[in-house]
């Protein structure tokens, strides 16, 4: 939280290019962000905005054909751009843990929960099987699984979706990570279970001072969980800042558009027409210039075709030709 301390993760100018048969797809363009210990950054965006690729770029799990460039990508003193495969393997699952959307794909169906939890720890740390087993039981209890010791002998298919995701979280915590990257961790779960898993993640990251990057398309999840928010559109971070600022005073027209699209109990009139964002995401193949949102933006002007200045008062920043992000044009207080 303290801006005076050095960030745990610092990314500058992250660019991801994918060569296609008909040109280069500029999937992520000039992304900057910092993450401090204990902080939760939520990256929100629609499908194809590059949010998942960004997280994979950080942990070095991109497909081989994707070209990654950046001016800086630093994790607690380790330069992730020049780190060897071996160094990256030593970081992943150890100091940087991952939680993916579908727990069944992160768990091996042929091994017991216990085997997988114990292996996660012994792969990185020189501890006895027994110690690892105790840690596994301790963490299963911590994530709210009852009769933890007897669960160790069970296989993933014997657990419900919510329990599986709890096991995945326990596994991510085995090596006491400093950073957790969670990509849509609750999308496959029921709303009631979603609330439980999210509050578990929030409590655990606070308690253990773990930083988290949470990737989601759900603005409700972002608002409730994030310290910092990054809104991605077509490969760019169009707006970023503290959660209260981004939701309280959304500056980019896309952020406001998204917020109008979702029915908000108490605010939206029942049955009234919801806001829409007309048009579709532009192709990112070939030369991508100017604001990618201009084809769908009600405030687009000629200047949107040129380079877009970064505006706002740090830490709340946005990319737009309009100094107020066209808030006045929409009748919003400046």
């Amino acid at each position: 939280m303290n801006d005076m301390t050095k960030p745990l993760l610092s990314v500058r100018g992250l660019t991801l290019d994918i060569p296609m048969s008909n040109g280069t797809l500029h999937a992520v363009r000039a992304l900057d962000f910092d993450l401090h210990r204990g902080e939760t950054l939520c990256i929100v965006g629609e499908s194809g905005s590059g949010k998942s690729l960004t997280s994979l770029a950080v942990i070095g799990l991109l497909e081989k054909n994707i070209r990654r460039n950046a001016t800086q990508m630093n994790f607690d003193g380790t330069d992730l751009l020049t780190a060897s495969k071996k160094q990256m393997r030593a970081l992943r699952g150890n100091r940087i843990a991952m939680i993916f959307q579908e727990p069944m794909t992160s768990l091996n169906p042929a091994y017991t929960i216990g085997d997988q939890l114990i292996e996660a720890l012994r792969l990185h740390k020189n501890v006895s099987r027994e110690k690892a087993r105790n840690r596994a039981i301790e963490l299963l209890e911590k994530v709210g699984i009852t009769a933890a010791a007897s669960r160790l002998g069970q296989y993933p298919h014997q657990l419900s979706g919510g329990l599986r995701q709890r096991v995945v979280i326990a596994m991510a915590l085995m090596c006491e990570p400093e950073l957790i990257i969670a990509d849509e961790p609750t999308t496959a779960l029921d709303v009631t279970i979603q609330a439980q898993i999210l509050s578990l993640l929030v409590d655990l990251t606070r308690e253990m001072d773990v930083a988290m990057i949470l990737i989601t398309h759900d603005l409700g999840v972002v608002a409730r969980v994030a310290d910092k928010v990054g809104v991605m559109y077509a490969g760019e971070l169009v707006e970023s800042g503290p959660a209260a600022d981004v939701f309280g005073k959304p500056l980019h027209p896309y952020t406001r558009g998204l917020l109008r699209c979702i029915p908000q109990p108490g605010k939206t009139e029942r049955g009234a027409a919801l806001g829409t964002i007309p048009g579709i995401v532009p192709s990112l193949i070939g030369d991508v210039k100017g604001c990618a949102f201009r084809t769908r933006c009600p405030h687009a002007v000629e200047a949107c075709r040129d380079a877009i200045p970064e505006r706002g008062e740090p830490p709340h920043k946005f990319l737009c030709v309009h100094p107020d992000g066209a808030r006045a044009a929409e009748g919003e207080p400046a």
Partner: protein, 329 residues
């Protein structure tokens, strides 16, 4: 009141599930004594966790599953007595995933006009006319007629699915999570479209969704399902403003509105969803209910009237021992 367009009377659907290789099959009541009436133009939002029987109910209404007991009436006529074709003219589905519900080898024109051919309605010329009219209705340009689903975006595909459902001029549309697979900006377009079509044609929807904010927005009535039973049903305003059943309250609490001043809510639903083969005794909800007492473990609650509908909870039964008229959750 006029004859309801759709009525379910004490519908029960029991599956027989084998336990292990040599185990004896056990009954699983996916839908347990459900009664619903829907008037023309209403939207019934059906909410509940996965495995509660929502989709089984939708399948029964579409004639894809037979009921074990009870009856389903459309315009006062029992659907068991009608043939599948006659039923399909009146009830049409829109499914969740527009990627798997459209045949990738057929053009949009083929997909949308197939119901007309199956039901032998009109000649080639009139089919072409209603095809173009329907596409216009759902906001698709006629140039998509000869394209394939793979050439379309998710939102466009869902519009195709809606066109296919509407070309038969059905009375009832079963929407099973119609926007869950879509991005928010596309979701709002589809929700607006569904709302406009309902107003224009007086359609009746059964709207199944896990997104309660969406249900609150679109539905006129809401039914909360738990382990095969409708534990609370009421008009949308009554249910969302004053949920009576503790489970309804927990569901409503779990809605994450985009309000950064609030944290993640505590649903107080400690235990996991029970195994439907072996449902808890008494009130099925008692193991997860923060208000459960011994009476709940032994006796199943009966449906009692509430403002705008009914609720099954001992706390609201004036003749039961746990009645608390002041209880609002």
């Amino acid at each position: 009141m006029s004859t309801p367009v759709l009525e379910l009377r004490n519908v029960v659907k029991t599956y027989r599930v084998k336990q292990g290789l040599f185990g004896k099959p056990k009954p699983l009541k996916a839908v347990n004594d459900v009664s619903i009436t829907l008037q023309k133009g209403e939207v019934l939002g059906l909410v509940g966790e996965s495995g509660c029987g929502k989709s089984t109910l939708a399948k029964i209404l579409l004639g894809l599953e037979a009921t074990t007991e009870g009856s389903v009436l459309v315009d006062g006529e029992e659907i068991g007595e009608q043939n599948r074709l006659a039923l399909a003219r009146r009830i049409q589905p829109i499914f969740q995933d527009p990627y798997s519900s459209l045949n990738p080898r057929k053009t949009i024109a083929d997909i949308v006009s197939l119901p007309l051919r199956v039901h032998n309605i009109g000649d080639a010329k009139s089919r072409e006319k209603s095809l173009r009219e329907t596409l216009e209705l759902v906001g698709l340009p006629s140039r998509v007629l000869n394209t394939y689903p793979s050439q379309m975006s998710g939102g466009q595909r869902q519009r195709v699915a809606i066109a296919r459902a509407l070309i038969m001029h059905p009375e009832i549309v079963i929407c099973d999570e119609p926007t869950s697979a879509l991005d928010v900006s596309v979701q709002s377009q589809i929700l607006n479209l569904l709302n406009d079509l309902r107003a224009e044609f007086g359609l009746t929807y059964l709207f199944i969704s896990h997104d309660l904010a969406v249900v609150e927005h679109l539905a006129t009535r809401v039914a909360v399902m738990y382990l095969g039973r409708i534990v609370e049903e009421a008009d949308v305003a009554d249910l969302f403003e004053a949920p009576r059943h503790p489970y309804s309250r927990a569901l409503l609490n779990s809605v994450l509105t985009p309000d950064p001043s609030q944290g993640v809510p505590d649903t107080q639903l400690g235990a996991a969803y029970p195994n439907p083969i072996d449902p808890p005794s008494g009130c099925h909800f008692h193991p997860r209910c923060p208000f459960a007492q011994d009476h709940c473990k032994t006796t199943a609650p009966r449906p009692v009237p509430r403002k705008g509908g009914h609720v099954e909870c001992h706390l609201h039964d004036p003749e039961g021992p746990m009645y608390r008229p002041d209880f609002t959750v």
